[in-house]
């Protein structure tokens, strides 16, 4: 399987994912916004499908996804906050029954010589909580705990 360029936790509340695709930006963009295409790849864990993918692709518009396997069903509602065509999508994600885990996701698209790199930043807290989190001393104190996570991730996926 093609490796990701990056999977990291740049801040204690952010996950950053970077992945390159051998396709021009227009196609990668379409694959992220057209339900019939999304249903073919965003199916999640093994044995799951994405039977529901409804997207109202405009700022303020919502999207609804439901993943299913024989035992299990999980839904997620998204809302688009910002859309810059072929460049950036910012949306919120709330999984059913897990409001505490709601996140803001920024997906950026960059094309270089026919290849497209996407960067996804999943931010797990709202701005107010982030501002509080970034008080002096916080990052230093938290670095130690996150080094543990980095090691775990490196071990698991190396």
């Amino acid at each position: 399987m093609k490796p990701m360029d990056e999977f990291s936790t740049p801040t204690p509340t952010t996950i950053r994912i970077v992945r390159s695709f051998d396709a021009p930006i227009a196609l990668v963009w379409r694959a992220h916004i057209e339900p019939e295409l999304i249903k073919q790849w965003m199916t999640g864990p093994p044995d799951h499908s994405l039977p529901v993918c409804e997207i109202d692709f405009r700022v303020g518009g919502k999207a609804r996804y439901v993943w299913k396997n024989p035992q299990f069903e999980m839904g997620m509602t998204a809302e688009f906050l910002e859309i810059v065509e072929n460049k950036r999508i910012v949306h919120t994600e709330v999984f059913d029954g897990w409001p505490e885990g709601s996140s803001t996701v920024t997906t950026s698209f960059v094309e270089t010589q026919g290849r497209t790199k996407i960067t996804i930043e999943i931010e797990y807290l709202n701005q107010e909580a982030r501002d509080q989190a970034m008080q002096p001393g916080f990052e230093e104190g938290y670095a130690a705990s996150y080094e543990t996570l980095d090691r775990l991730l490196a071990n698991r996926r190396s």
């Binding site: 204690p12 196609l27 790849w41 909580a129 509080q132 543990t148």
Partner: protein, 112 residues
């Protein structure tokens, strides 16, 4: 609520993350944490309860004090969750590679 959910909820609060950050450098008593964060003892205690229920910290009893200690297992659960998330993205993107190949063939191929 699953233990992992409790871990994530526990870490969703900035004060609790700072407490975890402090405990990553070594055990501390409630009164040490009160001084460290300039919060009241009841506030610190309520945060410690949440952290203890999530499995992120444990508290022993030494004379009149209850030193708090970080429990790596709680963070392991979070690491496992991140690992699962990573797998999902890797598998999704492997499928997206195939979708893009098909789209490229459609757009490059002869027009109907």
């Amino acid at each position: 609520m699953e233990l992992l959910d409790r871990t994530i909820v526990a870490l969703a609060d900035p004060t609790r993350r700072r407490i975890v950050g402090r405990l990553a450098r070594g055990t501390a008593t409630v009164s040490e944490l009160v001084r460290c964060f300039d919060l009241t003892q009841p506030t610190i205690s309520s945060h410690l309860k949440v952290l203890e229920r999530s499995g992120l910290i444990s508290r022993s009893r030494v004379a009149q004090t209850r030193p708090c200690k970080l429990e790596p297992e709680g963070l392991h659960a979070l690491g496992y969750w991140l690992g699962e998330l990573r797998s999902v993205y890797e598998e999704n993107y492997a499928r997206l590679d195939q979708v893009l190949e098909r789209l490229k063939n459609q757009t490059e191929g002869p027009k109907p």
